[in-house]
Amino acid sequence: MTKEERLKKRHSAEKRFRFYGLASIFVALLFVLILVHNIFSKGSSAFMKTAINVEVFFDQELLEIKNGATEDQILEADFYDITIESLLKVFPAQDLDQENQLIDLFTTDAEIEIKRAFLENNNLIGKKINLEITASDDIDQLHKGNYPRDLPEDRRRISDFQLIIYDNLVENKKIIKNFNNYFFKNGDSRDPELAGIGGALIGSFYSIIICLLLAFPVAVLASIYLEEFAPKNKITDFIEININNLAAVPSIVYGLLALQILLATIQLPRSTPLVAGITLALMTLPRIIIPCRASLKAVPPSIREGALAVGASKFQSVFHHVVPLALPGTLSGTIIGLAQALGETAPLILIGMVAFVVDIPSTPIDPSSSLPVQVYLWSESAERGFVEKTSATIMMLLSFLIVMNFLAVYLRQKFEKRWN
């Protein structure tokens, strides 16, 4: 082979490699784009909800309370009759069946929404006001264009009569799109229009805080001891190997462990953020220890020697010099560990967080859901409304993860800067 031929071959090999590299990046980006597009196109509509403008007359005869009623009295009172009365006025119905179809256009919580309006202003007796009553899931999906209306009636959840009312409402501009506060405020519900991630958010928050409080100090102290103080012998080698092994153990195994020890033996309450936090802490511990030790190792030995040489004790050289320098790396490792824990589903399903929980947990020992488990739960539901809610929850989860990873990268970059 001549020199020219070899040169040509080398150049083409380089070009080929460049092409393969670029192609791989392109394919990877394409997958990410498809994923993001899929989630956004399905999920973004969940942040809006459809409501119907209804004129409500607070009729003294139908209500048993007076103007200026106390909160307790209002909560006790029955608003069912005026709710039905108000909803039926939206469109003329011919018979009982049509009346039922009309009422089905609204959320099952219509009565509560009217009561809430009265709670805000207890002077409404005898007055007429316009309220935006949340529409049912079917109307919501229809209005968002997610529901095919050209199917034959017997294969639709919305009847022809309901479609007539809907078209009438659209024509009269009685249908509105609002910011969906229920999605953030409410707990889970059987009705998609009422279901929200409020409970899951709080549950995830408690779980992660407990995980952080348990895992961070233990991981940091273990790393400092292993890296700086422990003698290098077979026992520490064995511990090191096992920490690496534990980090690779599938998370569901931690779920089984928690099920046996925390729930069956210690009898902690099921489905609670407390148990979730402890389980996630067990799982996250080795995943924090590894980056912690790496960042301690990255502090040059000359810093330790410099401190020792001016007469600092081993303890002082570690805590005055090494640990502060390793701290940003330690924190970024911790955040990444927590981000993994935040997205963890399998162990939480095993400890019962998959239960259907409507109430928002007020303490870490109340039954609760968590964001990834909520995704899992809703992805199994048949109603169309849950499809967009699943994607919207994934969007929330991803945005938390992005924020956390961004923070970790920021801290690490700050760490690198300090060497120059």
């Binding site: 003698p231 290098k232 040059p300 000359s302 810093i303 330790r304 020697e305 410099g306 401190a307 020792l308 040489a309 001016v310 007469g311 600092a312 004790s313 002082q316 005055h320 010099h321 320098l325 300090r418 060497w419 120059n420």
Partner: protein, 253 residues
């Protein structure tokens, strides 16, 4: 001739199975500069790291024999290494300032030893140490800037100032100029000349010329043994040992 400050008797050092020093008997005089020369890996650094017990940091390192400072044995298990290192400061091959401000670099030692209770006392220690290290004029206006931002030569003088700050009796220097350019080296050598009035200095160096310039006494190490020790003039003009002769004339090493 000055008094003997540090005395090593039958000093043996092992790194695991490997013996690094063989029966070293060496006397170092007070307020004098002793240079240790010899090819790489001959045990010079190992020897000076015995004087402030820096070898303790290395797990596999075992030291036997005696080192006395002012007649007191320092190879004693019960001896507090912290107070030993307060008396015996060290400057390393590569400048290793703490990634903190210049001020904090100097004030750290006095602070942990309880010297300089008040801010003004600390200020004074920092100023004096930097003056003694001939760095004060260059950095007095930027004491709060990071020590790592200084040039290599300045960093090394900062490390010398850091060693001086706890007011030691002995300063060990492990090839302090090997990472520096000739101008910075000249400044450090000038400084060593000044410091020997107050401190006992031991310097490990690979530069014969430096040993001649700064030291009064020179020891030649080879393969872990102290081959020859004597007045610097004698070692370089008229050594007793053939190996010393060969090394200083550049025939091996």
């Amino acid at each position: 001739m000055n008094n003997v400050k540090i005395k090593s008797k039958n000093l043996n050092v092992y790194y695991g199975e490997k013996q690094a020093l063989f029966d070293v008997n060496l006397d170092l005089n007070e307020k004098e500069v002793t240079a240790l020369i010899g090819p790489s890996g001959c045990g010079k650094s190992t020897f000076i790291r015995c004087i402030n017990r820096m070898n303790d940091v290395i797990d596999i390192c075992k030291v036997s024999g005696n080192i006395e400072i002012d007649g007191v044995e320092i190879n004693d298990k019960n001896l507090d290494v912290v107070s030993l290192r307060e008396r015996v400061g060290m400057v390393f091959q590569k400048p290793n300032p703490f990634p903190k401000s210049i001020y904090d670099n100097i004030s750290y030692g006095p602070k942990i030893h309880g010297k300089g209770e008040t801010k003004s006392e600390l200020d004074e220690i920092v100023e004096n140490s930097l003056k003694k290290a001939a760095l004060w004029e260059e950095v007095k206006d930027r004491l709060d800037e990071p020590g790592t931002g200084l040039s290599g030569g300045q960093q090394q003088r900062l490390c010398i100032a850091r060693a001086i700050s706890v007011n030691p009796e002995v300063i060990l220097m492990d090839e302090p100029c090997s990472a520096l350019d000739p101008i910075a080296t000249a400044k450090i050598e000038e400084l060593i000349d000044e410091l020997k009035k107050t401190y006992t200095i031991v310097i490990v160096t690979h530069s014969m010329a430096q040993a001649v310039r700064v030291s009064q006494k020179t020891g030649f190490f080879h393969l872990g043994k102290l081959i020859e020790v004597g007045k610097t003039e004698k070692i370089f003009k008229n050594p007793d040992n053939k190996m010393t002769q060969d090394y200083i004339t550049g025939r091996f090493g």
